[in-house]
């Protein structure tokens, strides 16, 4: 089997997951498509170095392509501080209900990039903390706190009585 055939067989089936991640991180069809093309080229170039599972490997390449793209085009979006703020309320304040689909997706899109990426990889791609840590290039502990923070921010944003939205909207 040629290198290209191996690539098609192993990597291309994950192009949907790759697009979904790029779309969530760029929040726009065209930009996601551009970033995905770049990422697929990189993936093809780095393919001989692939060891292990192709999906997290491809997602890591896509993630890095997204970050480079954001850095070049929308650097402000990456400025969001990533510390686990201590002023946030504890788990008691979480109030998940039957959310409106649009409100839910808007709230996810409004999360700062590091939290959004952790949440998408966990909830939509069902990856383990270890895999997410490898993709995002951070320690597992950071994945844990980012996910907890992402959920807290979401629950707050979706709370019916949320007086003042705590999330910074990027657009």
């Amino acid at each position: 089997m040629s290198e290209r055939e191996r690539f098609e067989r192993m990597v291309l089936p994950h192009v949907d997951a790759a697009y979904n991640l790029a779309r969530w991180l760029t929040r726009n069809d065209h930009d996601a498509d551009d970033v995905l093309q770049d990422a697929m080229l990189r993936a093809y170039r780095f393919f001989p170095a692939l060891r292990g599972e192709p999906r997290p490997w491809l997602l890591a390449i896509v993630r890095n392509a997204c970050w480079s793209w954001l850095q070049a085009n929308r650097p402000a979006e990456l400025d969001s501080s990533d510390d686990a703020a201590s002023d946030a309320p504890g788990p008691e304040a979480l109030a998940a209900r039957e959310f409106d689909r649009a409100a839910l997706n808007q709230a996810i899109a409004a999360l700062p990039v590091p939290f959004r990426e952790a949440l998408v990889l966990r909830e939509l791609e069902d990856l383990s903390y270890k895999e997410i840590a490898r993709i995002a290039g951070v320690p597992i502990g950071t994945v844990m706190s980012r996910l907890a923070r992402a959920r807290r921010l979401l629950a707050e944003a979706l709370r019916p009585s949320a007086a003042a939205p705590r999330l910074r909207l990027h657009k």
Partner: protein, 225 residues
């Protein structure tokens, strides 16, 4: 570790055994913590069910500039064909599709359509996970007009497969789910329509005598949740 980090990791199955036991013991004595856990579980479930899963627009106008990609021109050529073929021109994976039709017909004729009859996803899913080496998602789609009737076990290509049975009007729709992956494609044979796609390490085959458009609606619903 903050309390909400502990809960969050617990729900993700990422807390070690000792810490999980401790947390469960704590929850047994603390109704507020238990409620917080339930709310967080509900949030996670909601995201999985209602979070957008974006698909590559089928015919997206290409904006990418060839100047930027020029250095990689050769690679684009080599690969563009591959991706284009795979994504835009779904391959017909006829053999397993035909097998799915055969299984569907067998089940319909034999009257053995359903092993576990329930419209409740929360009883169907555990029933399936208890009998299979994988756990297929069982979405609730009655609002979209596809009523869950139950599930059965079947086999495709010698491998065990879960079959979710949905109904729409008088039509029965078999949704075969087994580990694997594939690009999306659809075809018709012997009066049956078949839709197939891969998602999250699972391969899906939808088989029904339902018309193609409505079957594609279901395929979209299943692949996007």
């Amino acid at each position: 570790m903050r309390p909400d980090e502990k809960l969050s990791a617990y729900l993700d199955g990422e807390l070690d055994a000792a810490a999980s036991v401790e947390l469960e013991r704590e929850m047994a004595q603390n109704p507020a913590l238990r409620a917080a856990c339930e709310r967080m579980r509900e949030l996670s479930r909601t995201i999985r069910e209602k979070g957008d899963y974006f698909r590559r627009p089928a015919k997206a106008p290409r904006r990418s500039s060839w100047t930027r990609l020029a250095p990689a021109f050769a690679a684009v050529l080599a690969l563009g064909i591959g991706i284009g073929f795979f994504v835009a021109q779904p391959r017909e994976d006829a053999a397993p599709g035909a097998e799915a039709i055969a299984a569907h017909v067998r089940a319909t004729l034999g009257g053995h359509l359903i092993d576990v009859a329930s419209s409740d996803q929360h009883s169907v899913k555990p029933w399936l996970s208890a009998r299979l080496p994988f756990s297929p998602p069982v979405p609730e789609l009655s609002q979209e007009g596809f009523v869950l009737a139950g599930a059965r076990l079947d086999a495709l290509a010698g491998q065990p497969a879960a079959v979710l049975v949905y109904r729409r009007r008088q039509h029965v729709i078999d949704v075969f789910v087994a580990p694997g992956s594939a690009g999306a494609s659809s075809f018709a044979r012997n009066g049956f329509n078949v839709e197939t796609f891969g998602r999250d390490g699972m391969r899906y085959w939808l088989v029904s005598d339902l018309n193609r458009n409505e079957l594609q609606d279901l395929s979209r619903l299943l692949s996007q949740r």
